[in-house]
């Protein structure tokens, strides 16, 4: 699929070009991470206790808010219409765009988690597990998110509405992600089941996401 990769590359280029999408997502992530302790108060024990949860939520939010970008611009300037006249099935178009989003947003966020971790002084193992779960979980974020992005294309609401629509879909991911971390951090208990469940969730979203968002897009092109 050459056109798949062309689309992917172009989306990545645009993501880099357009006001450093990546930088802002990371910035938002770090800021949320920084806000919580300021608001909650500086008790280190308390913080390291809530750290994994907060980091997950922060990641979720900052990935979410960049979701709108996936289709919005292309839709408004008519690019999506033209892409639809190519032989690349709409399902693959959405897949390419979700993948681009994962590469340009979710992945960098995950890579910045260690830094955030030190700020909450998480111990190394917990931090590693956290990153691992995030790597898997963010796939679900990008691919399920594209559905909401497609659904909310016509509303001028932007990121917030997207968030509301997809957050329920993310709950399982969030729950099993954090559960896996918390189990590993306090030994009695086997993290594998929940981790495997997490993986299967991501796989499922890989399968469903592109298809569903393509369906959603078709109606909007009128």
């Amino acid at each position: 699929m050459r056109s798949f990769s062309i689309l992917l590359l172009r989306d990545i280029r645009v993501a880099f070009r357009e006001g450093e999408a990546i930088g802002t997502a990371i910035g938002f992530y770090l800021i949320v991470v920084a806000l919580v302790p300021i608001a909650v108060g500086p008790d280190p024990k308390l913080l390291s206790k809530i750290a994994p949860g907060i980091l997950w939520v922060a990641l979720l939010l900052s990935a979410l808010l960049s979701l709108k970008r996936i289709f919005k611009t292309d839709f408004e300037d008519g690019t999506l219409e033209i892409i639809a006249t190519s032989s690349l099935p709409l399902e693959l178009t959405t897949a390419a765009k979700s993948l681009a989003h994962w590469l340009t947003t979710s992945l960098p966020l995950v890579l910045f988690t260690p830094l955030a971790g030190t700020i909450y002084d998480l111990d190394t193992i917990t931090c590693l597990v956290l990153i691992l779960t995030m790597l898997v979980g963010t796939l679900a974020i990008s691919f399920l998110g594209s559905i909401a992005a497609a659904l909310t294309l016509q509303t001028r609401q932007g990121g917030v509405l997207v968030a509301i629509i997809v957050l329920p879909l993310y709950l399982p991911t969030l729950i099993y992600g954090t559960v896996t971390v918390s189990i590993t951090s306090m030994p009695p208990g086997d993290p594998w089941p929940s981790f495997l469940l997490l993986c299967s969730l991501s796989l499922a979203s890989l399968a469903i996401g592109p298809w569903a968002s393509a369906a959603a897009l078709r109606h909007q092109l009128q």
């Binding site: 357009e18 006001g19 450093e20 930088g23 802002t24 910035g27 770090l30 800021i31 920084a34 302790p37 300021i38 108060g41 500086p42 280190p44 913080l47 030190t118 700020i119 909450y120 002084d121």
Partner: protein, 268 residues
């Protein structure tokens, strides 16, 4: 051409380039020299703190960079203001350079501070007022840089960044208040310092420094040296920016020529 006063002279980019061309090496040389002296005093003359051990040496890097991080912002705010008022490009160039250099020094303060925190407080980071407010300062720098770089139209970007910088200057008093609290008797306002582990200022405080001269002297020398270094970097960055704009304006001139060239086709 009418007689200019010194300020106007310096504000003229050509003259500025010529001037800094001479000045820059001198400043750089001085900066390196003084920092060398300061560091020598710091490491071989200043006494080893009985409780902090050798880690106290970090202070000589940490404190100046912290000060300069804040000074950098002040300088940027001033440049920005004068840009909005006088529309002089040089002011914008200065503001832009400040953002980058200032951010670097702030980052330096954060890193050295964090490294110092490990032995002192047992952790790299605590959500203490001073640390947090400096972190915010850093975010401000980043935000301004991001804003500038995410607007295509450069003229617009400069103005927007300037406004942002001026609004953000509120952070400087906040860095102070958060640690020292705020006490305004005639307002009946007495704000306790917001939770802090960090050293209260002992040099820049009303009522004179409170630390022993054997540490104060090398500290101040270092501070002087780093300040010079700051300006060296700042001037260098300004020169680069000016050159970059020269190139860009040449490109634009090219486009203008082309637009008129296009007319020759259009008129056929």
């Amino acid at each position: 051409m009418k007689k200019q006063n010194l300020m106007q002279k310096i504000a003229n980019p050509k003259f500025f380039m010529a001037l800094t061309d001479k000045l820059l090496p001198v400043i750089t040389f001085l900066a390196i020299g003084i920092v060398a002296i300061g560091m020598y005093l710091a490491f071989f003359v200043a006494p080893v703190d009985y409780q902090q051990g050798h880690t106290v040496k970090i202070m000589f890097l940490h404190v100046p960079s912290a000060w300069l991080g804040m000074m950098g912002y002040a300088l940027m705010a001033i440049s920005s203001l004068s840009y909005l008022v006088f529309h002089h490009p040089l002011a914008d160039v200065s503001a832009r350079s400040c953002a980058i250099v200032g951010a670097v020094f702030t980052l330096l303060a954060l890193i050295t501070g964090a490294l110092w925190g490990k032995p002192m407080w047992g952790t790299y980071w605590v959500w203490d007022a001073r640390l947090t407010s400096v972190l915010i300062l850093f975010f401000l720098y980043l935000g301004i840089i991001a804003l500038r770089s995410s607007i295509d139209d450069e003229a617009l970007a400069s103005k927007q960044a300037a406004i942002m910088a001026i609004i953000g200057v509120a952070i400087l008093p906040f860095i102070k208040i958060s640690v020292e609290g705020l006490n305004i008797p005639w307002l009946g306002l007495n704000l306790p310092s917001w939770n802090t582990l960090h050293q209260p200022p002992s040099v820049l405080r009303s009522g004179g420094p409170t630390i022993h001269s054997s540490i104060l002297v090398p500290l101040l020398i270092n501070a002087l040296g780093f300040t010079l270094m700051f300006f060296a970097l700042h001037l260098k960055a300004m020169r680069n920016e000016i050159l970059r704009r020269k190139i860009k304006s040449l490109k634009l001139a090219e486009i203008a020529r082309i637009r008129s060239y296009e007319s020759t086709i259009a008129n056929f």
